[in-house]
């Protein structure tokens, strides 16, 4: 990371205190995802039926669940899985979507029409419903959760990159690069694409929160992650039965952390967008 990038990061953070707070929360979440298993106070899978459904206490800060497992430890360990799903889904989506969208926007013609049609077809489904259908059809595994989340995010990347490449394809510097003898693909990859990255980064940040929400939603209804593995969505599902009888902590803490994670990404995305493109501020 060079000095200019650092300066830019500082500028983004200090422009808006909310963005700074979001960035700090983001760092905590990343730390949890990286080091969760080592800093968790208890084994997330060790059940202790003598201490089942204990309310929050000094020993178990977030209480224990129906099998006596420490909820705080489970939340910390689950961060890696939830983040892993979201990051890989967004990465797959970005790689495929940006490639297809850039090609469509740069070359136009029949490839453009086919790619736009693919994006439209995906968008013709209520997206969460499509994700459910994909996981149900391909098999109930974590890899398929990632794939389904990637597919439903695809249209957003295709559309953003297509539009952004399209407005730049006849810009002066592109003409200059062409005249200098660069091939079309080289112009697209080295001259146009780097300029498209900033709006794509905003999209990535906004999508991350949504990807976490989708993955947690899918495991809440019993797709993908299997018990006893710790995952925020499944932990809320396990706590759901106890909430009506008053054992609120089983569902509340994982749900609150999930919400906080999504909130962080949304704030971060908004902050990035404000800095990159003040006109888009809503």
């Amino acid at each position: 990371m060079n000095a200019a990038t650092l300066r830019h990061v500082r500028y983004v953070a200090t422009q808006n205190p909310v963005t700074l707070a979001a960035f700090l929360m983001f760092s905590v979440l990343v730390l949890l995802a990286l080091a969760g298993p080592w800093i968790a106070p208890y084994d997330p899978l060790a059940s202790d039926t003598a201490n089942a459904l204990n309310p929050p206490s000094v020993r178990n800060w977030f209480g224990t669940d129906a099998l006596g497992r420490d909820i705080l430890s489970r939340i910390m360990v689950a961060a890696r899985l939830d983040f892993g799903i979201a990051v890989s889904a967004v990465a797959v989506s970005f790689a495929i979507g940006a490639t297809l969208g850039s090609l469509a926007g740069f070359f136009g013609g029949w490839a453009d029409r086919i790619i736009a049609r693919i994006a439209d077809t995906i968008m013709a489904f209520p997206l969460f419903v499509l994700a459910m259908g994909i996981v149900a059809a391909l098999g109930n595994t974590v890899a398929n959760i990632v794939l389904a989340t990637a597919i439903i995010n695809l249209p957003f990347y295709i559309r953003v990159s297509r539009a952004e490449v399209n407005v730049r394809r006849n810009a002066g510097y592109v003409e200059a690069a062409r005249l200098a003898g660069n091939s079309d693909l080289r112009v697209l990859a080295l001259h146009v694409f780097p300029n498209v990255l900033p709006p794509m980064m905003v999209q990535i940040s906004l999508n991350m929160g949504w990807a976490i929400l989708n993955a947690a939603g899918l495991s809440f209804i019993g797709l993908g992650v299997r018990p006893p593995q710790a995952e925020w969505g499944i932990m809320v599902a396990e706590g759901a039965t106890y909430i009506i009888s008053g054992e609120w902590w089983v569902a509340l803490f994982p749900g609150a952390v999930l919400m906080l994670a999504v909130f962080t990404f949304n704030l971060l995305g908004d902050g990035l967008r404000d800095v990159m493109d003040p006109r888009m501020r809503t």
Binding site: P126, G133, L213, G217, F220, I221, I244, W248, G255, L258
Partner: protein, 337 residues
């Protein structure tokens, strides 16, 4: 106007075709051998062959697609393995419950989001504006299943003001005679005020859960488009001509600001139909969402595919309706094409 509607219909056709192709491909992508799956674990090789032939799985993909289209045209979505009922019948029975919930959620969201958005737009930079912005971001960050549980805990367990969050209707009541399938409307038609109140009570929490989730995009869009319109020249002229503030705001500005809000309704419906499934699970709501979750748990694929297809077609139809509505609100759309 009829020309416009027809044009929109033709525009929606590729989407319908795309949806049908994708659902067909999802059917064929079943894990393992569908014939062996449908035959059950103890089936002989001949039995599997027979089922493969009866399902048309021994034919080419194009032929299978033709068969699939023929079944669809007849309204045959297959049978549910766990109940043995045709999927179409079961979906039709359960759809009104889901529709009632979704529509109430939308109405709730609109009735909160639009006034708040206008309020924020008329006072940009004020604390109301900042509060709205925070609320909007928090709203899209809430996992619907979690909000639902939270509301149930607070209003049922702690405060005791909401009825038990299980199902569409309290056990003390019997459902109203079915006319539309929407209990709110049916209980009104039956002139049963107590039943109407009970139904509304059951509906309040799940509808609020859905509404909270989609409130955010609606509020943001209302605010943004109101801000845009309020700074335009015709508003300045209207103000300079001394028209009353309310008249400028609602008769002139709001009507023009409505267009982008109507456009976002498409995205909002996508959210609504998706999170509907989660909310139905939380509140044991007997709609098609809980139906599909039961089927998923039992690895019963025909209902899942029927559900995906129904939801997608419903969504295409809703988008079509939004397009047509757009034409009514903004007459310019029809002229320009």
């Amino acid at each position: 106007m009829i020309g416009l509607v027809l044009k929109r219909l033709a525009g929606a056709l590729p989407n319908v075709i795309g949806v049908v192709i994708v659902t067909f491909l999802l059917t064929r992508a079943l894990p393992g051998d569908p014939a062996a799956y449908f035959a059950g674990p103890s089936a002989t090789t001949e039995a599997i062959q027979q089922i493969r032939a009866s399902l048309g799985l021994d034919k080419s993909l194009a032929q299978q697609f033709a068969l699939y289209l023929r079944d669809l045209a007849k309204g045959d979505l297959g049978n549910s393995l766990s109940t043995g009922q045709p999927v179409l019948t079961e979906i039709r029975q359960r759809l009104p419950a889901s529709l009632e919930l979704t529509l109430c959620g939308l109405v709730l969201a609109l009735s909160v989001a639009v006034p708040l958005g206008i309020l924020a737009a008329t006072r940009p930079g004020s604390w109301i504006d900042h509060l709205c912005r925070l609320l909007a971001t928090a709203g899209v960050s809430l996992p619907t299943f979690f909000t639902g549980l939270l509301l149930a805990y607070v209003f049922y367990f702690l405060l005791g003001v909401a009825p038990s969050p299980l199902g569409r209707i309290d056990v003390a009541f019997s459902p109203p005679p079915a006319v539309t399938g929407l209990y709110l409307v049916d209980s009104l038609l039956a002139r049963d005020a107590a039943l109407f109140r009970a139904t509304a009570g059951q509906l309040a929490l799940p509808a609020a859960t859905l509404g909270l989730f989609v409130m955010a995009p609606l509020m943001r869009m209302t605010r943004a488009s109101m801000l845009g319109v309020l700074s335009s020249e015709f508003i300045r002229t209207a103000r300079a001509s001394g028209l009353p503030r309310m008249k400028v705001l609602y008769a002139y500005a709001f009507r023009n600001a409505l267009l982008p809000v109507v456009t976002t309704l498409g995205m909002v419906f996508s959210f609504l139909l998706g999170s509907n499934v989660l909310v139905e699970k939380v509140f044991a709501w007997p709609g098609i969402g809980s139906y599909v979750i039961e089927a998923l748990v039992a690895s019963d694929y025909a209902p899942v595919q029927g559900f995906v297809l129904t939801m997608a077609l419903l969504y295409v139809a809703l988008n079509l309706a939004i397009d047509v509505l757009y034409g009514f609100i903004d007459p310019r759309v029809g002229i320009e094409g």
